[in-house]
């Protein structure tokens, strides 16, 4: 069917959506028209509210004008840092198995956790300890999991009841988030699925398939790429030639943006915007949080084998805790005394959790059969019973 040469174009001659391909066909036929034109363009912005020295570089959002909010966010990051160090120490003394430290990523974790609504669902990887704590997962539960006990993923917290357990394979949980968000949309619930993954995860097809599906159905899901610059030993520069990871969203028709992941105020603000938009029916979002893994990949890794000391030193100067602390000192009278008191309170809380974790009685060996199916098939009872009698 012939169409007039200007079909599918707006008044200024730009191609309008849905008619691009056909218009291009017409373009080739029309004498004098340019042989090619730009049909899509994009840009990726990066948000930072606090500079690395703790100076506000822009007007802060409402929540950041409340001193109590700010100090509690700082204390939450502090608790995470101390808990993380304790977990590493427990691994070194044989109480935990392999543990992945989240040192340096506290602002991203806490910013996400603070922005999420209770009814939202978190789908974390193994380095989201801080966001899990924000969701109400217990410190003792997290330790129990890393000690090798499945009960650590049976969260008691009501807010975390529907949260997924941590995803160990890379980015395989991204499609789960699409399913969770599809359920929310189907039931018309004002909830958002929040899927957190790492920079390495953006190289997986799972990530792209999930983004693509989320875009097709315009689902309430936010993917947060915690770009800590390292996938074990492979630096971000060797992971992809793309300028940003956020721009991977564009190919799926989803907005993608960066945020300074060491600026807890920016992470929370950007995250709140994306969540609000998704909750309002505005569709999915990708946020790339730029941070740095200050520790080893896990306690089984030694980053000095592949990472420059100078690189690490540069990253240390961007410490997310120091940044907010400096702002608090300057603007809200935070002091060494208050800092010491906060540390003591965190340590007491952590010690209590460690004691509860260490006192947890072991599961009997037959527990491996307990939740294999809702009801153990008769074909398996014999195996369970043989274990019982060994």
């Amino acid at each position: 069917m012939r169409r007039p040469a200007d079909a599918g174009r707006d008044a200024r001659g730009r191609a309008t959506q849905g008619a691009v391909a056909e218009t291009n066909t017409e373009l080739r036929l029309a004498g004098g028209a340019p042989p090619a034109e730009t049909v899509a363009q994009f840009d990726v912005r990066c948000t930072r509210l606090l500079d690395s020295d703790g100076t506000a570089r822009a007007a802060l959002p409402d929540f950041a004008r409340d001193a109590d909010q700010l100090t509690s966010m700082y204390e939450e990051m502090l608790a995470l840092r101390l808990f993380d160090a304790k977990a590493v120490a427990l691994q070194r003394t044989g109480r935990l198995g392999t543990y992945p430290s989240c040192l340096g990523q506290e602002a991203t974790a806490v910013g996400i956790g603070r922005a999420m609504a209770r009814a939202d669902v978190l789908l974390p990887t193994y380095r989201e300890t801080g966001t899990m704590l924000a969701r109400g997962v217990g410190m003792a539960e997290i330790l129990l999991y890393w000690a090798g006990d499945e009960r650590g993923s049976n969260y008691a917290s009501a807010a975390a009841k529907e949260d997924f357990p941590i995803c160990v394979p890379i980015a395989t949980h991204a499609p789960h988030a699409v399913g969770v968000a599809y359920a929310f949309k189907l039931r018309r619930e004002p909830r958002v699925a929040v899927c957190v993954l790492g920079d390495g995860g953006t190289s997986k097809g799972d990530f792209y398939e999930a983004l693509n599906g989320a875009g097709v159905w315009q689902l309430p899901v936010v993917f947060v790429v915690t770009n800590n610059q390292w996938a074990i030993s492979v630096p971000r520069s060797a992971q992809t030639h793309a300028r940003t990871l956020a721009q991977k969203a564009i190919a799926a028709g989803i907005p993608g943006e960066q945020v300074d992941g060491n600026d807890v105020l920016a992470v929370r603000a950007v995250m709140e915007r994306a969540l609000h938009r998704a909750r309002d029916g505005g569709g999915p979002h990708v946020i790339e949080a730029l941070t740095y893994r200050l520790g080893d990949h896990t306690t089984a890794d030694d980053a000095t084998r592949y990472r420059d000391a100078a690189d690490l030193e540069r990253a240390r100067r961007l410490d997310p805790l120091a940044r907010l602390e400096q702002y608090l000192v300057r603007e809200h009278g935070w002091s060494d005394e208050r800092d010491a008191a906060a540390r003591d309170a965190c340590s007491a809380r952590i010690d209590k959790a460690v004691a509860a974790f260490l006192a947890f009685p072991a599961q009997p060996p037959t527990a491996m059969f307990d939740h294999l199916f809702e009801e153990l098939p008769a074909a398996l009872t014999e195996q369970r019973d043989s274990l019982k009698h060994e």
């Binding site: 049976n154 969260y155 357990p165």
Partner: protein, 326 residues
């Protein structure tokens, strides 16, 4: 009552559950507007709407993975993988997530999904469309694997799979999709997911099989009957968990066993069945267990596929061997 084919029985079961349970939804490639490349979901999107009968992007990891998210949220997703040759990206999702979600959260979360896929050869399909790789799935703890072999069993087993609170891989033999018809009343009655079906009783030899090979096995039993050999035919139907009670009872009665399946022999489900008979029923055996299977070769393309698939002749010959042994 009009008679329906196996694929129509699948459609009937899906429609029944979509109507009966609002948590049920279907998803997959071409399952909506097109009604599925084998027509298994024909008319269902028109009847139940595009939100519950969902055409997905062409992405098997997404299909399997989002089904896990849906199931964890309390829905009952029934996902279609268009051909078994395309199911392998989904294995990551099944093995690492679907099969273990309940276990790794100690029951906090569950994963009641069904992953349906056409399976097996014999329909002159293109490359990658004809393999039978059910043992890959039967090997995964926490998964159920079901293979129907008649319209009535397809209907009853699919109802059971959808209602089951745990993940089920449901493999539909393409060769049987339109091969035979039978009356399948839409009663909503499910069949058990852990019991073999004895398709024919006999006292001389037990023929254990499933899926499309039940056709050749029943034909072999007919041929053997003409020779005065009374074969019992057991349709395993649920490959995981395996109902050894029925199989051992039958072998205890006949003392002879032939296992026939279309999949390659090496580490096939037949090997597991043979090992368990050896473990529990060795002293009841009068002859060595025989297996008639696909060869341990790449499934040939259409021109040679008939030479690959077990035939009634091969199955009957194996049965005769067991009778000659004792």
């Amino acid at each position: 009552m009009s008679e329906i084919t196996l694929v129509e029985a699948i459609t009937q079961a899906l429609a029944h559950e979509l109507a009966a349970d609002e948590r049920v939804l279907l998803l997959g490639e071409d399952v909506g507007v097109n009604g599925g490349v084998f027509r298994a979901t024909a008319g269902l999107q028109q009847r139940f709407g595009p939100k519950r009968v969902v055409d997905t992007p062409l992405a098997e990891t997404l299909i399997a993975g989002m089904s896990i998210g849906l199931a964890a949220q309390g829905l009952r997703p029934v996902a279609e993988i268009q051909f078994m040759g395309f199911i392998y990206p989904a294995i990551d999702q099944l093995l690492n997530h679907a099969a273990r979600l309940r276990n790794r959260t100690r029951g906090r979360m569950t994963c009641p999904l069904v992953l349906r896929s056409p399976s097996g050869g014999g329909i002159h399909a293109p490359e990658h469309h004809s393999e039978s790789t059910e043992s890959l799935f039967a090997h995964i703890p926490g998964l159920r694997v079901v293979v129907p072999s008649s319209p009535a069993r397809a209907y009853g087993l699919l109802l059971a799979a959808i209602r089951n609170p745990d993940p089920v891989v449901f493999l539909e033999p393409t060769r049987l999709y339109r091969l035979a018809k039978e009356a399948v009343p839409d009663t909503g009655e499910a069949l058990p997911l852990d019991v073999c079906f004895v398709l024919r009783e006999g006292k001389d030899v037990t023929l254990v099989t499933w899926g499309a090979t039940t056709r050749e096995t029943l034909a072999a039993a007919d041929a053997l009957a003409d020779e005065g050999i009374d074969a019992e035919v057991v349709d395993v139907a649920t490959l995981a968990p395996l109902d050894m009670t029925t199989i051992l009872e039958s072998v205890g009665k006949t003392g002879r066993c032939v296992i026939a399946h279309e999949a390659a022999r090496n580490v096939g489900v037949g090997a597991e069945i043979a090992a368990r008979i050896a473990d529990r029923g060795l002293l009841t055996l009068l002859a060595p267990i025989k297996r008639v299977t696909g060869y341990d070769t790449i499934m040939p393309l259409a021109k040679l596929e008939q030479a690959y698939l077990p035939t009634p002749e091969r199955i009957a010959a194996a049965a005769r061997e067991t009778l000659e042994a004792a």
